[in-house]
Symmetry: C2
Subunit: 205 residues, 2 copies
DNA sequence: CAAGAGTTTGACCAAATGGTCAGGATCACG
DNA sequence: CGTGATCCTGACCATTTGGTCAAACTCTTG
């Protein structure tokens, strides 16, 4: 059965309901910790009906991950060679932070996958992701060489941006536990802090 | 059966073999992704024998987590009120980075637990961890007020240090995939980068 | 070395879980 | 409105897995 492009109205509705439900459950319990019954219930379908739309549990997981990859890379892709370097990078940081706030499930799904060795997306990491990062690292390097940015290792700069921002999604429980935060207000403080951090470190002296 | 303090020689040997094996497997596959058989095989014991030493799979997991918590907090505890503020914080960053390099399994076990909502250590987060962080945040705040440190949000500073350093353990696969790194040489670059980042951002102008 | 404490295991069990399938219900469309 | 395609489900299956237990083995110690 060809599942790449849902054809009928019902197919569209159900596949998206399944993926939505699966994102919820997978991001909370990981791949092995998730059961088909959980997904089925969350999607409001029967288990055999799930398997009518997706060949297997793994197929659902894979569909989510591949769909996610592009979304995840997009903000980095927007780094503009023409813009003001420091502003561009700070804007990237804030974009990433917004994603952590608005799409925490996606971030955690990704984190779960990577922490456990990225068995399903290692190719994409070593391929498209690596290429994009190297490309942007070159851009950052050129900004440094023309004196528009303080000197830092571009790759590790990117890693630090990923980690600091995604941390607010992936370690959400820990952060809320420490701040006693029940809403998203602390994201404002985080934005403030990260802007300051990177602006100070990257503005050429 | 009282398992808090192994009594016999054999008990000491086997419980530590089990915990060592379990750390390996749990950190790689998460709680649900790990089977008792895997742990048993890695420890060189039979499955019933595992359960002679630990009441259940969860008991092994809990033993690991509680044992880990203290180790994880130790570096933060060492922040010295008497030292030079910027140096103290940079030293803390480097200590944390070394831990990510030398104890990646512990870091991933922790990450797995937190990402999935910290079902087993939420109390410790909201208790001892929270207290320690607040204590050190106060210290940092006092450094800022006396002009020895540039002004930043102390809590988010700590979060950023956790995330940037642990990232090298938790997202190891991704980092290696991008850097094409097969050894630990990139930890040197990371140390360099992070020292620079925090030194620039925290040194009072 | 006797004997009890401590250790180990093969065989077994119940529950959970991913997946199958035949047949029935429903929908789209000529 | 009829009919073929699409959609849905109850019942079922095989496997995996956490955990039990009685019996056997081994170690320690008086």
């Amino acid at each position: 059965m060809n599942m790449t492009r849902p054809k009928t109205r019902i197919q569209r509705k159900n596949t998206s309901a399944i993926l939505e439900a699966a994102l919820d459950v997978f991001s909370q319990h990981g791949f092995r910790g998730t059961t088909l019954d959980q997904i089925a219930q969350a999607a409001g379908l029967s288990k055999p009906n799930l398997l009518y739309y997706f060949a297997s549990k793994e197929a659902i997981h894979t569909a989510l991950l591949t769909g996610l990859m592009e979304t995840w890379l997009a903000p980095l892709r927007e780094l503009d060679p023409e813009g003001n370097p420091v502003d561009e990078i700070v804007a990237y940081v804030l974009r990433k932070l917004e994603m952590a706030r608005d799409y925490p499930r996606e971030s955690r799904l990704f984190a779960n996958e990577i922490v456990q060795g990225a068995p399903n997306i290692l190719d994409q990491i070593r391929g498209p992701l690596r290429d994009l990062v190297n490309d942007k690292a070159d851009l950052i390097e050129s900004w440094i060489l023309t004196g528009k940015l303080a000197s830092v290792d571009p790759h590790h700069l990117i890693f630090s941006i990923w980690s600091t921002t995604q941390h607010y999604a992936d370690f959400d429980v820990q952060i809320r536990g420490i701040l006693k935060a029940s809403d998203d207000a602390h994201f404002e403080d985080a934005a403030q802090f990260l802007s300051t951090l990177y602006r100070r470190a990257l503005t050429p002296s």
